[in-house]
């Protein structure tokens, strides 16, 4: 196992390259899902604001 991790002396290069790649891919997957979730959340927020604006407030009635 330690022989495999050492990669004949190239271990630091191989594992750092794979590590960076994994990190970037995981981040991008997270960011893509957040991108859609944020858009949906903002729509819902805007929808709620519109609803409260549509209802007459006390001051408007008075």
């Amino acid at each position: 196992m330690s022989e495999f991790l050492a990669m004949g002396g190239h271990g630091p290069y191989v594992w750092s390259a794979y590590g960076v790649t994994l990190a970037v891919m995981v981040y991008n997957a997270w960011a893509a899902y957040r991108h859609q979730a944020n858009a949906l959340a903002r729509l819902q927020q805007a929808g709620e604001e519109q609803e409260t604006r549509a209802k007459p407030t006390v001051r408007q009635i008075g």
Binding site: M7, H10, V14, A17, Y18, A32, Q44
Partner: protein
């Protein structure tokens, strides 16, 4: 037989691909399949490349970086072509959705370009003795590709009006596409540090089968991964662009319930 003419069927497909609600649903249906398939392929390919493939007779184990470096570089260029084609279609046919695709490709392409540069640098250290060489044409044009992606995104940010941003940034995307063939042929036109092509070359791939198969698996895995994230980003982009339409507002209400 009263067959539906081919042309009208093509027209319908073209119109559906221009219809935001249709593409939103299509992307939502495709995304989980692409996600699962890409993760399986990436796991198999990485295991095969790291454990099963034999070390290179010349470079030893550092060559295993090829399994992430080549797919990243391939996506950096393929992504740019996709972005330029989408932006071009958006410009010529005034198709908002096509601009939306280009917008979604840009950050993904930029990340894979950065990955290609970083993994290439790490591979370069034990192979060439240096992480970076300013005189190498392949490295320079790949760096230029990163700047083109970033330029596209920054240029868009400088416009408040989305339509204006679409049209101006599309011009940059289309003009920049000449860089892609230059990157591909750079190792043949200027032979400095970067090695020659492995896969797409005269006389077929210069790599044995037991090293080639995991590379092909990784290329497929990276491509599906890119498609997966593109679907999710495109969904978000469609919601932002279509936020004033009834179907998107209904969708938001349904999602909240």
């Amino acid at each position: 037989m009263n067959a539906v003419p081919m042309r009208s069927r093509l027209w319908r497909a073209f119109h559906q691909l221009g219809s935001p609600p249709y593409v939103y649903r299509l992307a939502g249906r495709l995304a989980p399949w692409l996600g699962v398939a890409s993760c399986v392929l990436l796991a198999v390919g990485a295991f095969w490349g790291l454990v099963l493939a034999p070390p290179d007779y010349l470079q030893g184990n550092s060559f295993r970086i090829i399994y992430i470096h080549v797919p990243s570089a391939y996506l950096s260029m393929g992504g740019y072509v996709l972005m330029a084609v989408a932006a071009g279609i958006g410009y010529i046919w005034r198709m908002k959705l096509a601009h939306g695709v280009a917008v979604c490709v840009a950050p993904l392409g930029a990340w894979f370009t950065a990955l290609a540069l970083v993994t290439g640098g790490i591979w370069g250290k034990p192979t060439w003795g240096t992480y970076w060489e300013w005189g190498d044409a392949r490295l320079m044009f790949e760096l230029l590709l990163l700047f083109l992606y970033i330029g596209y995104m920054v240029l868009r940010m400088s416009f408040d009006e989305r339509e204006k941003a679409d049209r101006v940034s599309a011009l940059l995307a289309v003009v920049g596409v000449v860089n892609v063939p230059i990157i591909h042929y750079s190792v043949e036109w200027w032979t400095t540090l970067h090695q020659g092509p492995t896969l797409i070359r005269e006389g077929g791939p210069s790599i044995t089968m037991d090293m080639l198969i995991p590379l092909l698996i990784m290329l497929a895995g990276f491509s599906l991964f890119f498609g997966w994230l593109l679907c999710k980003r495109l969904q978000g982009e469609i919601l932002r662009r279509e936020r004033r339409t009834r179907w998107v507002q209904n969708l938001a209400v349904e999602a909240a319930a």
